[in-house]
């Protein structure tokens, strides 16, 4: 499964003075919650059917931390596709991830499933997964919230506004999953110890830049509203009901 290191901000996201990036000095790092589900699902599949799970991340050397989080959850191997500290566009990211997976395959690895998050937490391009799948010649469906493997196939479910869709995709396949697929476990102490000791493989990434060039980040125009305090505690109930009336709800 492919996971991406991203800052873990609170209610507000701090920017550097020049607005070019997120000021990460006081922030921790994490992977996106969708990717946590991808890792959890892979670990469960290995627990049920055997085999092994490899967690791969493309990023600076520090991204090894997210890979170790994956190993702590139960993945067997970690691969860091190492870059400089710049933010790569989705085409460059996908090309390097695709090449790294192809390299592992040439060395004899066989992957039945390649799992992605539906979107990365920070960039949300919703395309790295699809581009990697195409490079590897694998079928892929996005937004998956239910996954069941059977002989040579994987049954996938995704929710839409009108209900749900079911797909029956032959293996090997790629799947981009959404939070809600499962409830990721909290890594046990044993897992953390194992992750600290696990050796991780590093593959140098080649940079083939695509056509999307970032010029920096900024806050959207202010959306703050004047808040009207309706009251404190139970005493506010009549005003709340009045408001519900104004909304046509009483």
């Amino acid at each position: 499964m492919c996971v991406k290191r991203a800052p873990a901000p609170g209610a507000k996201i701090p920017l550097t003075a020049d607005g070019s990036a997120i000021d990460t000095r006081n922030l921790g790092f994490t992977m996106s919650p969708h990717e946590e589900c991808a890792v959890e699902e892979a670990v469960r599949l290995v627990e049920a059917h055997g085999g092994s799970a490899t967690v791969m991340t493309l990023g600076p050397p520090e991204a090894a931390e997210q890979m170790r989080d994956g190993i702590a959850t139960g993945a067997d191997h970690g691969v860091l596709v190492e870059t400089d500290r710049t933010d790569w566009d989705p085409q460059a990211t996908a090309a390097a991830l695709g090449e790294a997976i192809a390299q592992l395959q040439q060395e004899g690895a066989r992957f039945d499933l390649v799992l992605f998050g539906n979107e990365s937490a920070d960039a949300a391009h919703e395309q790295v997964s699809v581009r990697v799948a195409h490079r590897l010649g694998l079928p892929i469906v996005n937004g998956i919230k239910g996954l069941e493997t059977s002989d040579g196939h994987v049954a996938l479910r995704r929710d839409t506004a009108a209900g749900s869709e079911r797909y029956e995709v032959p293996l090997p396949a790629a799947v981009a999953v959404k939070k809600g697929l499962n409830l990721p476990r909290y890594p046990a102490l044993k897992g953390r110890m194992r992750a600290r000791k696990a050796t991780v493989r590093t593959i140098a990434a080649l940079h083939h830049p695509g056509g999307l060039t970032s010029h920096g980040l900024r806050y959207p125009p202010d959306e703050t509203t004047e808040t009207e305090i309706l009251g404190r505690g139970a005493d506010a109930a009549p005003r709340v009901v009045e408001l519900l009336g104004e909304e046509g709800l009483t």
Binding site: A124, Q127, E165, L212, H215, R218, T227, A234, L243
Partner: protein, 347 residues
């Protein structure tokens, strides 16, 4: 690949640039997100042409009058038997074939889950660059300058999209539909594509329609709870209020992670993004990832013990106090307010 009815760029002169817009239909209507994409596309090229993907031209013909009213002169009916049912690979490959045939300056699609997915596949097949979740797109020489959402819209990124054919999707609700002088008639050009039958592997195999009842994404009122609700049982009073208002219950990630609510109830970046008339946020702090899921609500009422909580600051209305105490009182007051009418009807 292209059949007789499909010309190159029609009568348009060499200086005429064409921007394609991928149409998402809502039955026989053009969905709002597509109309937003058409609004943006009109500023990007001399001519805007629409793209309808389906097994045959029927759908394109039915949508043509509505598209003509939006100023679209030509509708490309991209057809193949494989397009009878949705499948991301087939739909993406079909769009890719049209792109290679028309060579437009760019393609704009609604940034819905499906619009983003089809465009990602078309981008992967053509190896063109794609900017998703744009809130603004402008021509900048041969390139487009785009502003796109990051962190679910909490931050904006300014970027340049340079490619022979620029691909972009528009974040829902980001732009308002602008009126335009409509046309009497839109020509339907059929583009019969030639899809590899193996792409049927990612076609939808089965659909299950939604059961009856209000859902989180369509409810006019959502009563949502976070850590401040305290427990799974604590949600009972939220259920009571939601039921009385004909609304749905939502929650924060803390509530799902604690197992108090199913993930289907989660509002936010990794849950559902909603736009109800009224959002009642109970014991929710208003972290970025939650805010992006509820900020499109018409009005927000926050109930929180902390007047400094981010959601209280950004809400239209707030009550400072304990969730259980406040909601209990509100439900009782609501029942009292409704009682005289019932009593009158009964007597």
């Amino acid at each position: 690949m292209s059949d007789a009815t499909h010309g190159s760029n029609g009568q348009s002169g060499a200086s005429q640039t064409v921007c394609l817009v991928l149409v998402e239909a809502d039955g026989d209507a053009v969905c709002e997100a597509t109309r937003q994409a058409l609004t943006v596309a009109r500023e990007l090229a001399g001519t805007v042409e629409a793209v309808v993907l389906a097994a045959d031209e029927e759908l394109a013909r039915r949508l043509a009058p509505a598209l003509a009213a939006e100023g679209v002169a030509r509708v490309h009916a991209v057809t193949d038997p494989l397009l009878a049912e949705y499948g991301p690979e087939a739909f993406g490959a079909a769009l890719a074939q049209l792109i290679r045939s028309v060579e437009p300056t760019g393609v704009v699609a609604p940034g819905t889950a499906r619009g983003n997915e089809i465009m990602a596949h078309a981008a992967a097949v053509t190896e063109l660059s794609l900017a998703t979740g744009c809130v603004a797109i402008a021509v900048d020489g041969d390139a487009w300058s785009v502003t796109r959402q990051r962190w679910g819209g909490v931050l904006w990124e300014d970027a340049t999209l340079a490619a022979s054919v620029k691909l972009a999707t528009l974040a829902p609700h980001a732009v308002a539909v602008q009126p335009t002088p409509g046309l009497e008639h839109a020509t339907v050009s059929t583009f019969a594509c030639d899809l590899d039958p193996t792409l049927a592997r990612t076609q939808v195999a089965q659909r299950t329609p939604l059961g009856a009842g209000v859902t989180l994404s369509t409810a006019p009122v959502v009563v949502s709870g976070g850590r401040g609700v305290g427990s799974a049982e604590g949600f009972a009073v939220l259920e009571e209020l939601a039921e009385r208002l004909g609304g749905a219950v939502g929650c924060s990630r803390v509530a799902t992670n604690n197992g108090w609510r199913p993930h289907a109830d989660q509002v936010g970046q990794t849950g559902t993004r909603i736009a109800p008339n009224l959002y009642i946020a109970c014991g929710i702090s208003g972290a970025t990832q939650h805010w992006v899921g509820c900020k499109d609500a018409q009005r927000i009422l926050a109930i929180n013990t902390d007047p400094e909580a981010s959601l209280v600051q950004r809400a239209d209305y707030a009550v400072i106090g304990d969730v259980q105490t406040v909601l209990r009182a509100v439900v009782d007051e609501l029942d009292r307010a409704r009682q005289p009418a019932d009593a009158g009807a009964g007597g």
